[in-house]
């Protein structure tokens, strides 16, 4: 990978490389000659050149889908035939075009809410109100918690103030949502009441470590910025012993994250020179890593763990922690002693969603898998808070990539409907993720989760290329939407 800075001096490129700790060359294109020859005039602009020197892919909006498409080409394997999403015509007709200005309220400024707000705003120039509500003042790029955990990112490097969205004409209310009143199409926060015409619920999954006795005394929360910072401090002073990465219960977001965490800890301890005095164990109730992606993916990840001497304990149905003896205990099994416990806490739908009447039998919000509509007119649920059943009976994993693409689809539907037309935008079930392996390498997995009878997902071999792709994606994400 190479970055090219059009109309930038050598010095500005170097300072930029230093500021972002970019691990690849940054070339200054002072007179813009390279940019002129290869680009369409936009930045960012990405070109993938194959081993034969020919362009495989170019794009102005960097996203995972582009990467996956490029890889299909690079590996010269035809993309598997995927069923097209069902046509929108089969969907129940919606009232088209409302008179006057509409208010679209988006709950949550995480991955889904942010993308929805951005795409909606791009579609109308101020006519309709777009209101985003989040109790946090900042958007957090959660994937980078893994790098924060091993000291490769500071906490302030992986956040952006949501108030910056007001520059784009998006209203931001920094408050907690305390009630969703579906009958009256009204959302209440501690200080405001907001009527809505359309509601997009993207409140994510609520982490509830407090439901595990002893969690606070014994475990460090991998999924929380404070916890990730504490893990980093604990690793810095770690001189050897037993590290446990524990998944307390299912479901949990980002099915790859606990494995990535174990691999990054492995790299960290090797660099520190204490890996030979340490053991790393992963405990999970899953029968294999990333079960939804099928046995091939599971085997591949288990193999990577084995190669790095990370002990894997599948079907570990965690029951309790005993801080006094520093042990974790599975139901009906033997206690395991750990010196440093990195844990994924239980997840549930946020309290305000649970009391709203939106929840289904799964404990999450049921939606149409293509349109993301709930059974309440004008109300959509995207990202971790929704529940989509796949053909194999499992549910679509909680991942930012799905929140991202679902948000785009919902924004497109609402915008088209407000223009009095019917939208055929539909979420296809495709998704991609990087699998960070430490030591500057990553794997990449992607495919179609709506494939029948099983999701068709491929894991591409680990390369530095993917790691850089992940770094680039992070930088892109933290700039693009703000």
């Amino acid at each position: 990978m190479v970055y090219v800075g059009p109309f930038e001096t050598k010095e500005s490129c170097q300072s930029w490389k230093d500021e972002y700790e970019l691990p690849f060359p940054v070339i200054s294109d002072e007179d813009g000659a390279i940019f002129k020859q290869l680009s369409n005039g936009w930045v960012p602009y990405t070109i993938l050149v194959g081993p034969d020197g020919k362009v495989q892919l170019w794009e102005s909006e960097f996203d995972e889908a582009g990467f996956a498409a490029a890889v299909e080409k690079l590996y010269r394997e035809p993309a598997e035939a995927q069923p097209e999403p069902e046509p929108a015509a089969r969907l129940a007709p919606q009232p088209a075009g409302r008179a006057g200005a509409a208010t679209i309220v988006i709950l949550g400024g995480g991955a889904g809410g942010l993308v929805a707000a951005y795409h909606l705003r791009r579609r109308f120039s101020g006519k309709h109100r777009i209101v985003l509500v989040d109790r946090s003042p900042d958007h957090l790029f959660q994937s980078s918690l893994l790098w924060h955990m091993v000291g490769q990112r500071r906490a302030d490097q992986i956040r952006r103030p949501l108030s910056d969205l007001t520059r784009r004409g998006i209203e931001f209310i920094n408050d907690e949502v305390v009630e969703i009143d579906l009958a009256n199409k009204l959302v209440k926060t501690h200080s405001e009441k907001i009527d809505f015409d359309y509601l997009i619920v993207s409140l994510g999954a609520q982490l509830v470590p407090e439901t595990v006795e002893g969690f606070d005394e014994m475990a460090l929360n991998l999924y929380d910025p404070k916890g990730a910072g504490m893990i980093n401090a604990a690793l810095e002073s770690f001189s050897g012993g037993r590290v446990g990465v524990l998944v307390t219960s299912m479901p949990f977001k980002c099915p790859a994250a606990p494995y990535e965490a174990a691999l990054l800890v492995d790299s960290f301890l090797r660099k520190k020179g204490v890996r030979n005095k340490s053991e790393i164990h992963v405990y999970t109730p899953e029968h294999q890593p990333m079960p939804v992606a099928g046995p091939v993916m599971g085997e591949a990840i288990t193999k990577v763990l084995g190669k790095r001497d990370i002990r894997y304990h599948p079907l570990f149905t965690f029951e309790k922690m005993q801080p006094g003896t520093h042990t974790i205990i599975p139901s009906g099994g033997e206690p395991e002693k750990v010196d440093l416990l990195i844990a994924v806490p239980p997840h549930q739908a946020p309290d305000v969603v649970r009391s709203s009447g939106l929840i289904g039998a799964s404990g999450w919000i049921p939606v149409d898998k293509h349109t993301l509509r709930t059974e309440h007119e004008g109300v959509y649920a995207i990202g971790d808070v929704n529940s989509v059943r796949l053909a194999n009976g499992k549910t679509l994993p909680m991942a930012g990539v799905f929140a991202h693409y679902e948000a785009k689809v919902v924004a497109e539907q609402i915008a088209t409907e407000l223009q009095g037309q019917r939208s055929d935008a539909a979420f296809s079930g495709k998704g991609y993720c990087w699998l960070e392996l430490g030591g500057g390498k990553a794997g990449f997995a992607g495919g179609n989760f709506y494939n029948e009878p099983e999701p068709s997902v491929r894991l591409y071999p680990p390369m530095r290329f993917w790691h850089w792709g992940k770094v680039l994606f992070e930088k892109w994400w933290l700039r693009h939407w703000f």
Partner: protein, 40 residues
């Protein structure tokens, strides 16, 4: 995203990129990703 000059044509799939002439590294494993980006 921002536009610096909309008159540029860009490349299309299959265009041969004269990497050496442009002073860009040749692809090693798999491919080379070239990213045009402005710091500010």
């Amino acid at each position: 995203m921002k536009v610096l000059d909309e008159s540029y044509k860009g490349v299309s799939e299959g265009t041969l990129v004269p990497l050496n002439e442009l002073g860009l590294p040749a692809p090693t494993t798999g491919g080379l990703l070239i990213v045009f980006w402005k710091g500010q």
